[in-house]
């Protein structure tokens, strides 16, 4: 019988191998690689272009955040819905989630719909101004 910790042993081994390999590569590159610095090489770069000028603390419209939030909410709803839909009905000896699953998801979706109605009426989806 393995204790819960012992079952993590293979993961630990994998972790060690990964860290060791990465460390080895960095170390080898440092030891063996040629080093010829120049002005161009030392400047900071950003995806091949000059770094953006000005303050990085720019303000975005608050609507972007709200949309991002709404996206996450419905994205996660989809994540819940997909396995639920697969497991709802019985098949091949598996009993299925049954009415309990149906009612639970009904409550979940109803709550989300209420939330959607709220933000809709609140004017969050209104992009006019």
């Amino acid at each position: 019988m393995l204790t819960p910790l012992q079952t993590y042993f293979p993961i630990g081994v994998a972790l060690l191998v990964a860290v060791g390999l990465a460390a080895l590569m960095v170390a080898l590159a440092n030891l063996l690689g040629p080093r010829r610095p120049s002005v161009v090489k030392s400047t900071p770069f950003e995806c091949g272009s000059e770094p953006a000028a000005g303050s990085p603390r720019e303000r975005f419209g608050v609507k972007f955040y709200v949309v991002a939030l709404l996206f996450i909410v419905f994205d996660i709803e989809a994540i819940f819905l997909y396995p639920w839909a697969v497991l709802l009905l019985p098949s091949q000896g598996y009993p299925g989630l049954g009415w309990a699953g149906f009612v639970s998801m009904g409550i979940f979706v109803a709550t989300l719909v209420a939330g959607l109605v709220y933000v809709w009426k609140k004017g969050v989806l209104d992009w006019a101004d």
């Binding site: 819960p4 009415w99 609140k122």
Partner: protein, 489 residues
């Protein structure tokens, strides 16, 4: 096709009622657009009362959701306390927000959601359920703290609360992971399996640290004064009453599952809780002494009271007095909820208002209480009752609560903690009485009339009634608390 798990759904009835109430208030906010929003507080009170009634009626008792949650007297008591706290805070909020032209459905909706989380926390017997409940509760209170978003202080308070709350959630979650590693389960009932192992102790300590943030125990209290002072006053009242009660319910359940039941077998976890209690009682009281802002003083007082409650939790680990200690804890929580809401209500009625929701630094200064006994004798009397109760002077309910907790502590032979407890509460006399001095013994500073509204008056009267009646005829409530203290686990 397996059977329909009716019990699981019935058990959640109070939480369902609160959630439906929250949705109802939110939808009313967008559909019933009119200048007057007095009905929203009324809806909130109705749903809070209904949820409390559902918790008392309790159509089903016992474990639900595969032993991840439980409906028992303990959870019912906690639910009733947090629902009562919600109802009182909603009434207080109605008058306070109207005076600032900030009464919106979101306030009540968030409070209802938060209360649902608190009620669930009282039922949780599984680390994951507890975590979900904590998050539901906390997200609502973070937003409530920022409710007056135009002001600097509320924003600062909300931001601090959010950041430190996130840390506490992380600690709780990490501790849960370690506990799972030690015992192979997230159920409280299985925690004892890993007893004695360093992993379990580390896990329990991290979980306790996470909860210590919520109950504002020293050294995890740093956010409390700023958040309590900066948050809108009705929200502060709600946090002091509800969050504390729910978090203590959780701590009691976890602590009791982890402990064996006799002082001799006490694990190092007891030492952790005992250290927290000592620090909290000493520093909570010491730091309250120099405060001139009454709101900040009450925040530190809330820290100090967490210390006394921790003594109650610790006493509960001793088999002979477990029931007494738990009952004392619950009674104390109920009394503290009423008292704190009442005291913050008076503070809210007196605070200096500005157009930008940005309270000036002296908004809650002691000077604002000067001569209150002449200007508004009723308000001053109510505040005096709350302060005497917080100080634990008979014949208020606060005295019975302290008597109860210290009785349990002495029964558990925690003499040192009991002596420290009474001595620090004597220290508390100084800063509580200072407010009484200003109200009764100093001439009025000639300030504007304090805020007054019917809803606030009802809330204050109810809080005074609770504090006085529980001080004089505590027996019925103590019996309920005792029944609730005999939890299964």
């Amino acid at each position: 096709m397996n059977g329909f798990p009716t019990n699981d759904f019935v058990a959640l009835l109070p939480i369902a009622i609160l959630t439906v109430g929250a949705l109802a208030v939110l939808l009313s906010e967008v559909f019933l657009v009119s200048g007057r929003r007095g009905y929203q507080a009324a809806i909130t009170v109705v749903f809070a009362v209904a949820a409390g009634a559902a918790a008392i009626a309790r159509p089903y008792s016992g474990y639900v959701f595969n032993r991840q949650a439980v409906v028992d007297d303990f959870s019912a008591f906690v639910t009733v306390v947090v629902c009562a706290g919600l109802a009182l805070s909603a009434l207080v909020g109605a008058g306070w927000l109207r005076a600032r032209n900030a009464e919106r459905g979101e306030f009540y909706g968030l409070a209802l959601f938060g209360t649902a989380g608190m009620a669930l926390l009282g039922m949780a017997t599984d680390l994951l359920v507890a975590f979900i409940a904590i998050e539901v509760m906390s997200l609502a209170t973070y937003s409530l703290a920022a409710y007056l978003r135009r002001g600097k202080r509320p924003s600062e308070a909300a931001f601090k609360y959010l950041v430190l709350g996130a840390i506490s959630s992380a600690l709780f979650l990490y501790g849960s992971a370690l506990l799972y590693g030690a015992s192979g389960s997230t159920l409280f009932g299985e925690l004892a399996k890993g007893r004695g192992s360093p992993l379990s102790l580390a896990g329990l300590s991290l979980v306790a640290a996470g909860i210590a943030f919520k109950i504002a125990a020293v050294p995890f209290h740093a956010w409390t004064p700023d958040v309590y002072e900066g948050a809108p006053t009705p929200v502060t009242a709600f946090m002091a009453a509800g969050v504390k009660a729910a978090a203590f319910a959780l701590l009691a359940r976890i602590f009791l599952s982890a402990e064996a039941g006799t002082a001799a077998q006490a694990t190092a976890f007891s030492g952790v809780i005992s250290g927290l209690a000592v620090l909290t009682m000493i520093f909570g009281n010491l730091l309250a002494v120099p405060q001139r802002s009454v709101k900040r003083m009450l925040a530190y007082s809330s820290v100090a009271h967490a210390g006394y409650l921790l003594v109650g939790v610790l006493s509960a680990s001793v088999a002979g007095v477990r029931e007494k200690a738990l009952a004392g804890l619950l009674f104390y929580l109920a009394v503290y909820a009423a008292t704190a809401i009442g005291a913050f209500t008076v503070v809210g009625a007196l605070e200096r208002r500005s157009r930008l929701d940005d309270e000036p630094a002296d908004a809650w200064d002691l000077e604002r209480f000067a001569g209150l006994a002449r200007r508004r004798p009723g308000l001053a009397f109510a505040m005096a009752v709350f302060l005497l109760s917080l100080a634990g002077i008979p014949p208020t309910a606060g005295f019975i609560g302290k008597l109860y907790i210290f009785q349990a502590a002495i029964g558990a032979q925690l003499y040192g903690l009991a002596i420290l407890g009474v001595l620090t509460s004597a220290m508390g006399i100084y800063y509580y009485l200072r407010v009484v001095v200003y109200m009764y013994m100093r001439p009025a500073a000639g300030e504007a009339e304090p805020l007054s509204s019917a809803a606030t008056s009802v809330a204050l009267a109810a809080a005074v009634a609770v504090v006085v009646v529980l001080g004089l005829v505590a027996d019925p409530v103590i019996r309920l608390a005792q029944a609730a203290g005999a939890i299964l686990l």
